[in-house]
């Protein structure tokens, strides 16, 4: 029971405070790069926060490190590599495209293609089967009557 209570407290205490630090940037481009990078890196300790939003000590350390790196002219890739060598792929909210994530990145588009092909096939087949005789639907007489009754109510 105590353990359960603790979890409740930990879970709920997490996001209650927005993290705001007052860094000064050499130019606006650096500031927006900092905002983008910290928004795409996941805080390793928190529930499900990026390091920009989390107010945990580790997130604030990582923000400081990102700030130091962008301010001294490091590229986005350098910052990301720096984080991944230390904390693993886990910190990337944008998973890298590789064998492990092909399903993730391309799966939905494959599914979409399959879906569209199915629509085309169904429409073609429906049209063809309809041409020889309109009444090839295989409905029983009672079903058809019931349906017609319903559809007629619409028209009234």
């Amino acid at each position: 029971m105590r353990a359960l209570l603790l979890t409740i407290l930990v879970v709920l205490a997490g996001p209650s405070l927005a993290a705001i630090d007052a860094y000064e940037f050499k130019d606006e481009q650096t500031e927006s790069r900092f905002q983008e990078l910290t928004a795409e890196l996941r805080c390793p300790k928190c529930q499900n926060n990026n390091i920009a939003d989390s107010n945990s000590p580790i997130a604030s350390d990582l923000r400081r490190e990102v700030y130091r790196m962008v301010q001294s002219g490091a590229s986005d890739e350098e910052v990301i590599d720096f984080m991944v060598t230390r904390y693993g792929e886990f910190v990337l909210y944008r998973p890298r495209v590789n064998e492990m994530t092909w399903l993730l990145w391309y799966g939905p588009f494959v599914l979409l293609a399959i879906g569209l092909i199915v629509v085309v096939v169904i429409a073609k087949r429906r049209k063809r089967s309809a041409e020889p005789g309109a009444d090839s639907s295989g409905l029983s007489q009672s079903e058809r009557e019931r349906l017609n009754k319903l559809l007629e109510q619409d028209k009234k």
Binding site: G14, S16, A18, I20, V119, A130
Partner: protein
């Protein structure tokens, strides 16, 4: 005493739900009218006892009965009475009881409102809902009773409701969301009843359509409220985080949207019958899956309930029985279903099917992204995260495709549209949309990116294809204006909902592209400008609240150099749990929000301050409200009532 009564009422509800889940079902399959007739009174009784149980818990909260563990964990004597009431659903156990109450509520609504349904169908529908209720009452009683006592050591005061939840948003957001989630159980029950009876025809689509529209409207409203609440309460100024909990609500919404459209085709044209049944099963299954994800701890989320594997196993078993059972039933029954009308590729049917495919693909994408870390972990391939950058990268193009096909579908006719007439229909709205989107783009402060431009184009596309469709309906009438005003409510509902989509797209595109944000160190007198606004920091005041103390910032806002307003962001310390909370100060407006949040003191009089300028952010929720209104309007269509009256009259004349 009161909590025990609540628990007993729940046990009686269990017995009632078991009876409701069996007797009418047996009655319907054996043709025993008397047994079918038990469905209605049993539903009423079930609802009464669940309501009583819920009221008992509410009473315990109002009375500050801290001997009840759930009350002690989620309330405090210093809490105002309205938060004590909403705290009933502030934690896992109570929110599950609310879930149950709403399920019983929908059951009784179906029982009382569906006098026109054949008895055997109604019996089956109510029985299925009774079976669902049985599963959830068992879940509450065995793993999550809110009535458990802390005896003999009664705490002197409660641990307080999480300050994040002490807010108007929490009072309204969960009930609305659950109304939607659980509302899909009605469509589910109708689908199962249709499968069981073997009468899978246009009739069941007609019966379940208004229920589905209402549930969908509630879910839309619930999601919009949740987004709004996260926006002003979390202090980050974000409105959608792609957190697993949010995704859990988005998935049933996507499938529900597909279902609403598919039901329309099934009812009107008698096609896609087995697909519609499948969607009805999916919509509710995804609601259940969401419940599992949020309450089992398999995924990390910013706002999950306390996780407990035992509960996880129980819900998983519940899922296996409900979803597995219904899909098995589907597999055996659906292959016999045949469609009875034909349509061509360029027809409204086809485009509604394409819209269904897109919605299903988006839902599959959200599901895949949400569960991918779990999949990889379960296969021992390591740990990875899937977050907003992934979801945005896929969601944006897919949803813009959906908007495109929405417009085309609106202009299609049923059965077949000739290529020539389609082109004639499309070119004018397309031209208007392009011109107006172009004008908007030129008026924007800076040149937008590709997706933002396309989004603006699609918003206008939806608007103008809608106008064109309305024009088609009325222009051959003798009095076009009267004809426009006398369209069925369902049609206006559709227009309203589609308009909501356009508004939502504009809001999402503009707030994502043109928001400005700065985190600053501000001393009294410091200034910061965004667009035409200038923010002046005037220092901090100390304020005492009922159950918190607060540092309140004073920020003066100037508009074009003239005094405009004053904003008061706060940092509160809630004394019972020692939680620190930021209360952002927002100046809302139809075209922009000004958003200020207070950070840490930085020594001396200096404070960290976050200042944000959020153009068109209100349009997101405005769009949501329009969609909700559309759904409700569609469900109120007169023909449902006329049909009800007609059938009532018929049954009376026959009886």
């Amino acid at each position: 005493m009161i909590p025990e009564l609540g628990e007993y009422a729940l046990i009686i509800s269990l017995c009632l739900s078991v009876l409701l889940g069996t007797i009418p079902l047996v009655g319907a399959s054996t043709g025993n009218g008397l047994w079918c007739g038990y469905a209605r009174p049993l539903s009423v009784a079930l609802f009464s006892f669940v309501l009583f149980s819920f009221l008992c818990l509410g009473w315990s909260f109002l009375q500050n009965d801290f001997s009840v563990a759930y009350v002690a964990n989620n309330s405090n004597s210093a809490l105002p009475w309205y938060y004590r009431l909403s705290a009933v659903w502030g934690g896992h156990e109570g929110s599950l009881l609310l879930w149950l109450l709403i399920l019983a509520g929908w059951t009784v609504a179906v029982a009382l409102k569906s006098r026109n349904l054949p008895d055997d169908i109604l019996a089956r529908v109510l029985a299925v809902m009774g079976l669902i209720a049985t599963g959830f009452i068992l879940f509450v009683l065995f793993t999550s009773s809110p009535f458990e006592r802390l005896l003999p050591r009664i705490p002197e005061d409660g641990a307080d409701l999480n300050p994040l939840l002490q807010d108007f948003g929490l009072i309204v957001h969960p009930p609305m969301l659950y109304m939607g989630y659980v509302g899909f159980s009605v469509a589910f029950a109708f689908a199962i009843a249709a499968l069981l009876s073997g009468q899978l025809d246009a009739a069941w689509a007609r019966w379940s359509r208004p229920w589905t529209s209402v549930a969908w409207a509630f879910l839309t409203l619930g999601i919009a409220l949740g987004s709004w609440w996260a926006y002003y309460e979390l202090g980050w100024g974000g409105w959608w985080f792609w957190d697993p909990v949010e995704n859990a609500s988005l998935m049933p919404w996507l499938i529900g949207t597909a279902l609403v459209h598919s039901l329309a085709v099934t009812e009107k044209r008698g096609v896609f019958k087995s697909w519609t049944v499948l969607l009805a099963i999916f919509a509710f299954s995804l609601s259940l899956l969401g419940t599992f994800l949020v309450r089992s701890g398999v995924l990390t989320s910013v706002h999950a309930f306390a996780s407990d594997p035992d509960r996880g196993f129980f819900i998983l078993a519940l899922l296996a029985v409900t979803i597995g059972g219904s899909l098995l039933l589907y597999a055996f029954k659906a292959s016999e279903v045949k469609s009875e009308s034909s349509f061509g590729l360029f027809s409204r049917e086809s485009f509604l099917l394409i819209n269904n495919v897109l919605l299903t693909v988006i839902c599959a994408m959200v599901l895949l992204g949400t569960l991918y870390p779990l999949l990889i972990d379960a296969l021992n391939l390591g740990k990875l995260s899937v977050g907003p950058p992934y979801f945005n990268a896929l969601f944006i193009p897919l949803s813009l495709l959906l908007a495109l096909s929405l417009g085309v579908g609106t202009l299609m006719r049923w059965k077949q549209t000739e290529g020539g007439s389609l082109a004639a229909q499309i070119w004018l709205p397309g031209l208007f949309a392009t011109v107006l989107a172009g004008i908007c783009i030129v008026m924007l402060p800076s040149l937008p990116g590709f997706y933002t431009s396309i989004a603006l184009l699609m918003a206008w596309w939806i608007v103008f294809t809608g106008c064109r469709d309305l024009l088609n309906r009325v222009r051959h009438k003798s009095n076009p204006l009267a004809a426009a005003l006398s369209q069925p409510r369902a049609y206006y509902g559709m227009m309203l909902a589609h308009g909501g989509v356009a508004v939502l797209i504009v809001g999402a595109a503009l707030v994502s592209t043109y928001s400005e944000q700065s985190d600053l160190r501000m001393e009294p007198g410091d200034r910061k400008s965004f667009a035409d606004y200038e923010f002046v920091f005037d220092g901090i005041q100390h304020v005492e609240g009922p159950n918190f103390t607060s540092d309140k910032g004073v920020i003066r806002v100037l508009y074009k150099g003239e005094p405009y307003t004053e904003l008061h962001p706060e940092k509160r310390l809630y004394t019972a749990r020692g939680n620190v909370m930021t209360e952002a100060a927002i100046d809302p407006g139809l075209f922009r929000d000004l958003y200020v949040a207070l950070g840490e003191p930085l020594g001396g009089d200096a404070w960290a301050v976050r200042v944000q300028y959020k153009p068109f952010v209100r349009w997101l929720w405005l769009g949501g409200l329009l969609m909700t209104a559309g759904g409700i309007l569609a469900a109120m269509d007169l023909r449902y009532r006329r049909q009800a009256q007609r059938e009532l009259a018929r049954s009376e004349s026959m009886g």
